[in-house]
């Protein structure tokens, strides 16, 4: 029996069933391991809106495992310990995608010690809302021409008639020279990598709730025919994340990055997704 802040660790796990919120677990299919130092292990399984928690020291099959000590775990549960501070001071370690653990907060009602409700002067009620909005954006004739090009496996850019810079995706005007961009050129489709954003953070869209698969690479590609800062922003083939090199221009010194080529979708509809991603051009 292990007690911290006057709370038994076993009570936190044993009360999970009563605190479970099926609506918070909708669409989640994960196993979470809790390895509490010197005390033991628990395995939480969430599937099809239902949960099961088992005391077991074998957490090898879990998607993510939270490794911590009893005091920190209880502190986190009752809000005495800040998760970020605990992370930073290495009091908690997570094996697997650490973002996944964030899901547990909405799957359970807050743990309350017996009698806590009566001690509170007034219950603080928070209202939960989810917004879902359908949107439809006009692309206009300039951006529309570019998107039509993608359907034909062409990457088009506009050229400023004054400063000569290329922009792709195209812009109706050069904001710097304040003139309409009237000339079109075809660029790429191959090029070299100039910037890799190696993303571990699972970024969600608050309007759709859609979360990106991680890790992924958002990249800047200097397509053939472009120069200096005229990069094209897209994605890298996820399994090639560790195999590419960034090029650069630093004080006039050019270093070349990995050569890349686009992988086109079979079915193209005139969106950013007509290019699946860029991959190494071997």
């Amino acid at each position: 029996m292990s007690e911290f802040y006057g709370i038994k660790i076993e009570d936190i796990f044993n009360s999970m069933k009563d605190r479970f919120r099926p609506e918070g677990a909708a669409g989640i299919e994960n196993t979470f391991g809790y390895a509490i130092k010197g005390i033991g292990g628990w395995k939480l399984t969430i599937a099809k809106g239902a949960m099961a928690v088992d005391k077991t020291d074998d957490l090898s099959g879990c998607d993510v495992v939270l490794d911590t000590d009893g005091e920190t775990f209880v502190g986190l549960t009752i809000g005495k310990v800040d998760a970020m501070s605990a992370f930073t001071s290495r009091k908690i370690k997570v094996k697997g995608a650490f973002n996944t653990f964030g899901l547990t907060s909405r799957m359970f009602h807050k743990y309350m010690t017996p009698g806590q409700e009566t001690r509170q002067a007034q219950e603080m009620i928070a209202l939960k809302k989810t917004i879902s909005v359908n949107q439809r954006f006009a692309t206009g004739p300039v951006f529309g021409k570019f998107l039509k090009g993608l359907k034909e496996k062409k990457i088009l850019a506009v050229k400023c008639p004054v400063c000569g810079r290329l922009q792709s995706p195209p812009r109706e005007a050069c904001a710097i020279c304040r003139v309409r961009n009237t000339e079109w050129v075809e660029i790429g489709p191959k090029g070299e990598m100039r910037m890799l954003e190696y993303c571990y953070y699972a970024s969600p869209d608050p309007l759709t709730g859609e979360t990106r698969e991680t890790p992924y690479g958002a990249i800047g590609i200097l397509l053939d025919g472009c120069k200096d800062e005229e990069v094209f922003w897209h994605l890298l083939r996820p399994d090639q994340l560790g195999k590419v090199k960034m090029g650069s221009v630093l004080n006039g010194k050019v270093t070349h990055g990995t050569r890349l080529r686009p992988v086109w979708n079979e079915r193209r509809t005139g969106t950013i997704e007509d290019i699946k991603y860029f991959e190494i051009d071997e």
Partner: protein, 403 residues
């Protein structure tokens, strides 16, 4: 760039800041705002009847409430008063300061109260920022304000070892400052012996940008009251004067994803213009404190070079020699900065509020231990948007290059 001399001087006469925190579930939005409004009025010794005009600002996308100033009138006291609402992303608080200054300087109002707030726990910050991106292309690619580009550039230019140590040195200094500021949301008590461990083990967000480098998502509000020179001198013994401010933004940028230096940033452009027209030759010598909008430790290090118009590795040396500490040559963010607390719509205003408190000499435990006469405050937002503000203790500056 055309720029006219101010019609009349404007002083800061009242400041209010709530405690910043990840969870203010004990109060709703108007109640939280009211805490800062009450504090600012008390600080100035004014009543709400003394306020001629109220400015209100935050980012709607974060809490998903449009025209929140209607609900918030209960906390702002704006009922029946002239009132404006502003929203310019991360710069919102800085823009509020500029607008309040312009409204008073113009002669339209004598006393203006500006309110910046955010309750980020009530929405989704990274999702909200991602939805600021162009929906035709960039929304699919952007990850809120998370980016490792500054890290990539610093590592390419100065090598991984030196760049990573400089960013973590900056981070630890900010935490040491945050630990002195009772309003901080995050103050860990980091120390130098944790440097190697943090560089290696803090969870990565994007590339070399790790959780420890990045700013928090906070709840909180900030209020500043501005008055004309005549009124300011009646209201307080210690008005802080807004000498000048500049706003620079550029097109929505899809081509930031390069690795190209030197590139012309809005920060450097704004700094060059502002110093030139105010006759400030050496900003590093002139200013006594800089409250910078530093969304991550990497950006903080990189931007020192831009704001102070430095060359080569001068910015790294400032950090490495710990000259940016509260008792150093150029104290940066004695408040702990944005990494310590980031209620976005208030954040940029907190930079001006904290810089003004340093000049007044009543910042609290994080007061700089020597006189502060000239202060600089910056704001950052959008894909590159800069607001830069100069504050002065005395009304004695020389004209500079005005039309």
């Amino acid at each position: 760039m055309k720029y006219k001399k101010k019609n009349r001087n404007v002083g800061i006469v009242g400041i209010g800041e709530t405690k910043f925190s990840s969870h203010r579930e004990d109060v709703n939005q108007p109640e939280m705002i009211h805490e800062a409004v009450r504090q600012a009025l008390d600080d100035a010794g004014l009543k709400i009847d003394d306020i001629d005009c109220v400015l209100h600002g935050n980012m709607e996308l974060f809490e998903m409430i449009h025209q929140p100033d209607l609900w918030h009138v209960l906390g702002t006291g704006a009922y029946g008063k002239d009132s404006f609402r502003l929203t310019t992303g991360g710069t919102t608080g800085g823009t509020l300061v500029c607008a309040a200054d312009n409204l008073v300087a113009s002669g339209m109002y004598d006393v203006v109260m500006a309110i910046g707030f955010e309750k980020l726990q009530e929405g989704h910050t990274t999702g909200g920022i991602t939805n600021m991106a162009d929906p035709l292309w960039a929304r699919k690619l952007q990850t809120g304000a998370l980016t490792a580009q500054a890290a990539v550039k610093l590592i390419d230019e100065f090598g991984a070892e030196r760049a990573r140590r400089a960013a973590m040195t900056y981070r630890i200094i900010m935490d040491k400052h945050a630990c002195k500021n009772p309003n901080s949301h995050r103050a860990f008590g980091l120390d130098w012996d944790q440097m190697d461990d943090l560089i290696k083990n803090s969870p990565p967000l994007i590339g070399d940008l790790r959780l420890i480098h990045m700013c928090s998502q906070s709840d909180g509000a900030c209020v500043i009251i501005f008055a004309s020179e005549e009124k300011a001198k009646q209201i307080t013994q210690t008005p802080v004067w807004i000498r000048d401010h500049i706003t620079v933004h550029r097109e929505e940028t899809l081509d930031l994803h390069n690795n190209f230096y030197p590139n012309r940033t809005t920060h450097r452009f704004a700094a060059e213009q502002l110093y030139k027209r105010n006759g400030i030759i050496n900003p590093l010598e002139y200013f006594d404190v800089f409250e910078m909008y530093d969304p991550s430790a990497w950006w903080g290090v990189d931007w020192l070079r831009e704001f102070f118009l430095l060359k080569d590795d001068e910015h790294l040396k400032l950090v490495e020699n710990r000259e940016i500490m509260i008792d150093g040559k150029m104290p940066i963010n004695p408040s702990g900065g944005v990494i310590a607390a980031n209620p976005i719509g208030a954040t940029a205003m907190v930079r001006t509020a904290e810089a003004a408190k340093q000049i007044r000499g009543n910042a609290g435990p994080h007061q700089i231990p020597r006189p502060v006469n000239h202060a600089l405050a910056s704001s950052f937002g959008g894909t590159m948007w800069t607001v830069l503000t100069i504050l002065e203790k005395d009304l004695n500056w020389q004209g500079g290059d005005h039309e």
